[in-house]
Each structure stands twice: as C-alpha cells, then as structure tokens.
C-alpha cells in the first residue's frame, strides 16, 4: 500500500466499482464489460486475398479456395496461416453454466466472454479486436480472467489446457515517416504455458524473437513461474487479474503483472527472427493498428475455455 494520499484521479477510479479493480493509464480508451455485449471481440482469422483489387497483394496469402485445399492436406497448418473453414469454436457470452452448480455467472454480473477451443489437441482459438491509439505513448491492456477445461467428464482437467495467450499485432502510424523513420510492425505478446504432456508447467513466456505471434517460438521469462488459481473442481471458477503495458514509440515492453506478481519485462522487445519479409514486414493498409487477441490452446482432445470478465484498454499520450 502506498502511504501517499491518492491523487484525485486515483481516488475517483478506486471509488468506482467499474474501475477499482483496474489500473488504467491516463486515457481510458475502452471499457469492455461483457454484461453488455461482446464489444467487438470476435474469432480470429489471418489475411486472405479474396479479392483482386489490390495490386501489391501479399504473395504468400492464398485465395480462400487455395487455402481450403492446402488445409485439407495439412492438418498441422499454423494457426496464423490457417483460415477458419469447417467447424469452428467462436467467442461467446457465457453464463458459466454447468451440471452441478448451474450458472456461476461472471465475476461482476451474469456474463463473461468465453473463448472456447475445439475438442482437439492443439486447437488454438482467439478472441480478437483491432484496437489502436492516436498517441505514440504507452498502451495498456488489463483483464480479469479464469480458465477451465470442459466439465462434462467430471474431471479436473487442469492439464488439458496447454496455454493461454495475449497477443498483439502493432503497426506504426504512418506520419512517423515525417521523422525520417520507416513505419514498423512488431508483435508484443505473452503466453502462459500451463501444461505439457500431462504435466503442469505454469510458466509465463514472452514473444521476443518469433516470426509468428500466435505460434511462437516463445521465450520463457526468467522469473516466469506462477501458480495461477485454477481451483479444485472442474466447475469452480477462480478469477485472476492481468495487466500488460508496452511502449508504442520505443517498441518495448514496459510492465507485466499477473495477480499479485510483477514480472521483469521492462525494455524487452520483439525482433522477428528471421526478419519479416515483404508484406509481412510492412504496415500498408493498417497504420496505427493494435490488433489484440486473447487466446487459449487445448493440450488434449477436450474443450478448454478462457473467460474474461472485462477488458480495460488505456494509453498515455507520450
């Protein structure tokens, strides 16, 4: 507890039950309360051309029908290349309802945003929203979340969840070119590696050198160990707080906090390895994008769920 009296702004935030669980930066851009709708969080899919009016189109991007054909013959296709044709799991408003306790509801009301996987080992599903900031300052995402495996087999299911994700696709505003600097694209991201091969791992990772933000490879944080609350029954939901901040002008991680533990990410950054080529390195059509994704990955042939009670997005002007 800080001994100095809170500022007027802090006092207002701490006395407002909508924000008292969060620590937003000076500009609150979004408060997505899932008791009032999905607020634009939708299923993720990568680019596909689908049209012919774009002369500089990205060569590795296939048409829809080319992608369908490829995926029919490649079950292991990367999620950031694979179009979501066929059966899919999509974000939805959940009342966290199960056979034994009925509806648990969200943390603050009747509903939470649920991100479900397919009942398939390796299934990885994201709720995605294309955000942005008009300022080149810090950008912060906060949420209260919990995660569970499907309870229909009455098993705890903790090791059925491979990983949780918070990923970003960040592109510079194009007026940075006036400073003589080419606009950049980078992918700050975090992954909670929960379990592998039936064993709990429970370590946080960051995106430092990958060339595919949703597929890694990921780097373990040196201080990344964290036993997140999962609870002792398949239908008992326990909520955790998460805050992640990065700097749009410095292309650096600023801070990362998860439910009581501060992790040392300051000054870390994402430098794609190998460097992104062509269109993937470019920011054409998307200046100022901060594409944000919350995701979950199944370790076994069982549905896994990530629940978000709310999301607060905030920024600084510099």
């Amino acid at each position: 507890m800080n001994d100095s009296p809170p500022s007027f702004r802090q006092a207002l935030l701490r006395a407002d039950p909508r924000f008292s669980r969060y620590n937003p930066l000076e500009r609150i851009l979004h408060f997505d309360d899932f008791n009032t709708g999905l607020h634009g969080w939708q299923g993720y899919f990568p680019d596909y051309d689908g049209w012919e009016d774009y002369p500089g189109r990205y060569q590795p991007v296939d048409s829809v029908m080319q992608s369908v054909e490829k995926a029919r013959h490649d079950a292991a296709m990367r999620v950031d290349r694979k179009l979501p044709f066929g059966p899919r799991a999509v974000p939805m408003l959940s009342s966290l309802t199960s056979w034994d306790v009925g509806s648990a509801g969200g943390l603050t009301g009747a509903y939470a945003l649920k991100v479900p996987t397919l009942p398939l080992a390796g299934s990885k599903v994201f709720a995605q929203k294309r955000l942005g900031s008009p300022w080149r300052g810090k950008f912060r995402v906060e949420t209260w979340f919990c995660f569970k495996a499907d309870a229909s087999d009455f098993q705890l299911g903790e090791t059925d969840i491979r990983a949780l994700y918070l990923t970003f696709d960040v592109m510079d505003l194009h007026h940075v070119q006036a400073t003589g600097q080419p606009p950049r694209r980078w992918w700050p991201a975090l992954r909670y590696h929960n379990a592998e091969g039936g064993q709990l791992v429970r370590r946080w990772q960051a995106n430092i050198g990958s060339e595919g933000v949703k597929d890694g490879p990921w780097e373990y944080l040196a201080d990344g160990n964290q036993d997140l609350g999962y609870n002792r029954a398949a239908t008992k939901y326990q909520w955790n707080y998460l805050r992640f901040t990065f700097d749009l002008a410095r292309y650096e991680y600023v801070d990362f906090h998860c439910h009581g533990k501060e992790f040392d990410v300051r000054g870390r950054r994402h430098d794609p390895l190998p460097p992104l080529q062509g269109w993937r390195a470019g920011t054409d059509k998307c200046p100022g994008l901060i594409g944000t994704g919350f995701g979950i990955e199944a370790a076994n042939n069982k549905r896994c769920y990530l629940y978000l009670d709310g999301v607060v997005i905030s920024a600084t002007e510099s």
């Binding site: 829809v64 044709f85 059966p87 999509v90 939805m92 408003l93 056979w99």
Partner: protein, 116 residues
Amino acid sequence: MKTIHTAPLEVLSTRSNGSFTTEPHEAGWADEALAVAYVREVAGPAPVLVLRAQISADGARWFDHPASPLHLRQPGGASLVLSHFGNWLRLAGEVSGGPPDGAAACVIDLYWVLKG
C-alpha cells in the same frame, strides 16, 4: 437498444454421409435464435441434409428442441426459428444420399443469429 450477434459455426464446411453436431453455443442473453444454414454445393445421387436444433441445461446432455427440423436438398438458404431455448444451443446434422465413396455431399455455412 437490443443486442444482436451472429456466430459462425461452420464456414466452407464439407460434409459427407453421416451425422455431426456443431460446437456448443451459449445464448442465454438472447430472446430469439435463428439457425441459418446456407448450402453452397451438393453432390451425389440424392443428397439431403437434415438439421435439428438441440438444447441442454448443462452443455453436456443434449436433446432435440421441439422446432421442426430443416431438410436441405439443394443450394440456397434456410433457417430454424427458436424462441424458447434456455442457454445452451447446438445443431445436429444428418447427411444422406451423398456420393457412396465418402466424398462430400454438401458444402455448407451455418450460423447462429442471436438477438435479445
């Protein structure tokens, strides 16, 4: 103002003879649900897709909703109209009359269109 949400359950999905179910979907907030089915292509001697809405109290034990099932035999769109369905929804499909070699009998898109 009401909330409306369209959830894509299957897009460009190829189905051959046999049965399937869509992923469970929670829609307790909605007063009405339309299951919208588009058939893009059909193949085989007498292809037919029968779609039923199913409901559940817990997302694990499913049974048919009283709404009459859809019978889709040719390209086009159709919908199942549901008003009393509780929270959990899914679609159960049965494909028959497609190519006997197991090739796709139909290419379909399925959605929940939810409003409440």
